[in-house]
């Protein structure tokens, strides 16, 4: 009869051996990936680049190299993620030829947690090939508890049905974070969906307004300054009005801070300082904003503005 101590020793030894085996597996996996990055990926990248940078007026010739399809799909995805204004027609044909959506879609239901979220991100980012038919997923995952899975399901649905993007955004139940909004704007930049910033800014929904503000900031839409000022003055959510004010500073336009004096008085110390720093970094002077602030914040603004003045000698 094995005593409890020996049983514990055997169990712990088995666990340690398993963890050691996992370490070895990770090391071998890293070595395989390094080999792929060094040898296979440059070749795949060259083939893909030749396809997508060809003459847009001619037909696209797709060449499928003798390489694992999953690796090809990942290389194509990485190229698409790190570039902008790539020929979407050629990318769509490549997506279809490599079967990228089928590969990613087949694997997604069998993964969990962050791995599933990453596959959903891949599905959302790939240009539309022959879209796999909706089989109840990923829409069903909008109701899971994992935040990242819910968000990337939303992204996948928005890129799958761009006409319903605004509706999906409005009906999303969680508050979108700055990181999530930045990703939506990135997909907008790549032409995967279409959102009208005017509809977004006029909406009563918090997510829509935040996305609209991010769109104005990203594309530097000067004509939206009036709408941003309305949002800054009228929105009951402090985060939204604060973001609108910061975006107004980013545009570099003339801001009548007097109109938002009430909102400035309601700001706490952190929000005030944040606005001061943003205004100074974007070149606003002390006279523009200093009068509306308290003594302490005014000294801070004056000090920061002084530290940006060059000494001419």
């Amino acid at each position: 009869m094995i005593s409890a101590v020996w049983a514990y020793t055997i169990a712990v030894s088995v666990l340690a051996a398993s963890i050691g085996a996992m370490s070895v597996y990770e090391r071998l996996r890293s070595a395989r990936l390094r080999r792929w990055h060094a040898v296979g990926e440059p070749v795949a990248l060259r083939i893909i680049m030749r396809t997508v940078t060809g003459d847009p007026m001619q037909s696209v010739r797709v060449r499928i190299p003798d390489m694992p399809r999953r690796r090809l799909s990942e290389t194509m995805l990485n190229l698409y993620l790190s570039t902008c204004n790539v020929d979407r027609r050629a990318m769509s044909l490549l997506t279809q030829a490599y079967g990228a959506e089928r590969i990613i879609g087949r694997l997604s239901p069998f993964t969990r947690g962050y791995r599933r979220a990453k596959r959903l991100l891949a599905l959302a980012c790939l240009p539309a090939g022959r879209r796999i038919p909706c089989c109840g997923w990923p829409a069903g995952w909008l109701h899971t508890s994992g935040r990242s899975i819910r968000f990337y399901t939303l992204m996948a649905e928005m890129t799958r049905t761009p006409a319903l993007a605004e509706y999906l955004l409005e009906s999303y139940p969680l508050r979108l974070s700055q990181t999530e909004i930045a990703q939506i704007v990135a997909m907008l930049h790549r032409g995967a969906m279409v959102l009208d910033y005017r509809h977004l800014l006029r909406s009563e929904n918090r997510n829509m307004r935040m996305t609209g503000i991010a769109v104005v900031r990203h594309f530097a839409i000067d004509t939206a300054c009036g709408m941003l000022l309305d949002v800054a003055v009228s929105d009951p959510d402090r985060v939204v009005s604060s973001e609108a004010l910061l975006t107004l500073c980013d545009t570099g336009s003339e801001i009548a801070f007097v109109e938002v004096a009430d909102r400035l008085r309601d700001m706490n110390g952190y929000e005030c300082r944040r606005l001061c720093r943003c205004a100074v970094v974007n070149g606003y002077g002390t006279e523009t904003i200093g009068e509306l602030l308290g003594q302490g914040d005014r000294e801070y603004v004056e000090s920061l503005v002084e530290s940006y003045k060059y000494i001419m000698a």
Binding site: A16, S30, G113, L121, S177, A182, A186, S307
Partner: protein, 281 residues
């Protein structure tokens, strides 16, 4: 021993989860164009004059990012001149009012407005590293600051990943982001000022601030083979010591074997966690 083994297994589970989360953040930061909202990070350094390290710190292309260096011209005048000419820094006026009290600031230099790289150089008499970092925090332009020491280099995507992690929270909800393992701490500038700067934060109670746990190691040190050999030798010594002390001295071989197995489990789990943290793919 059972508690130690359980803690080791928790570390393994957490490191696997963080590795998955890091891969997800890495993919999503790759697709992003532009900043994450208005999240900005200032890297503050004291007594860092190695040009290779400065080039590494200045290389991230995140929009709202700057590097603030603090050097003493009495100790490294030639290096300061080299930095000023390399980044075409212009002398600027000293700030009139400081949030944190510092002494000995002689001059300040900034990159021209609109330059691609934001670099600020402070010429200050060296008193202590904390004092130098406080001088950097005084003129930092962004909401979050992180200190980088000598011989610490940032990974290429470190700043993007830090910004993505901070952006997962509402503005003002993150006072400190703690990177795992050998990573650094990103602190809110206003929180640092409230607690008296880097000198005051040493005695600060972490339970009183909004501390968030990050998943990505942002920096690395260049170590040689000797430290790896020392590391493995320490593990072997610990295992042998556990067996000898408990088994032989206490006279219970079973207990000695159990303690040695626990030490091996802890070493394996730490090694696996370190490998997961270093994994960039």
């Amino acid at each position: 021993m059972a508690a130690v083994a359980a803690a080791a297994l928790c570390e393994v589970w957490r490191s696997r989860r963080d590795a998955g989360r890091r891969r997800l953040i890495s993919s999503s930061s790759m697709m992003r164009c532009g900043g994450v909202g208005h999240v900005g990070i200032s890297v503050v350094c004291s007594d860092v004059d190695n040009m290779a390290q400065i080039e590494n710190l200045v290389s991230p292309e995140y929009d709202n990012y700057e590097v603030v260096l603090c050097l003493d011209s009495a100790r490294s005048a030639a290096r300061m001149r080299h930095i000023v000419s390399r980044y075409r820094l212009l002398k600027v006026a000293l700030p009139l009012h400081n949030d944190l009290p510092v002494v000995g600031v002689r001059a300040m230099y900034r990159t021209p407005h609109g330059a691609m790289r934001r670099v600020t150089l402070i010429d200050k008499r060296f008193t202590s590293h904390e004092d130098a970092l406080d001088a950097c925090v005084n003129i930092a332009s962004f909401d979050y600051v992180t200190s980088v020491g000598r011989d610490e280099y940032l990974y290429a995507d470190a700043v993007d990943m830090l910004a993505m992690q901070i952006g997962e929270w509402e503005p003002g909800e993150v006072d400190m982001l703690q990177c795992p393992g050998a990573g650094g701490r990103v602190v809110s500038r206003d929180m640092a000022v409230e607690h008296g700067g880097y000198a005051g934060m040493r005695y600060m109670k972490l339970s009183r601030i909004a501390l968030r746990r990050g998943c990505a190691v942002d920096r690395y040190r260049i170590v040689g083979t000797r430290s790896t050999i020392v590391h493995y030798a320490a593990i072997i010594t610990a295992v042998a010591a556990a067996f000898v002390i408990v088994g032989v001295v206490a006279g219970d071989m079973a207990l000695g074997a159990a303690s040695a197995a626990t030490v091996v489990l802890v070493a394996a789990s730490r090694s696996y966690a370190g490998r997961c943290r270093r994994c960039r793919d």
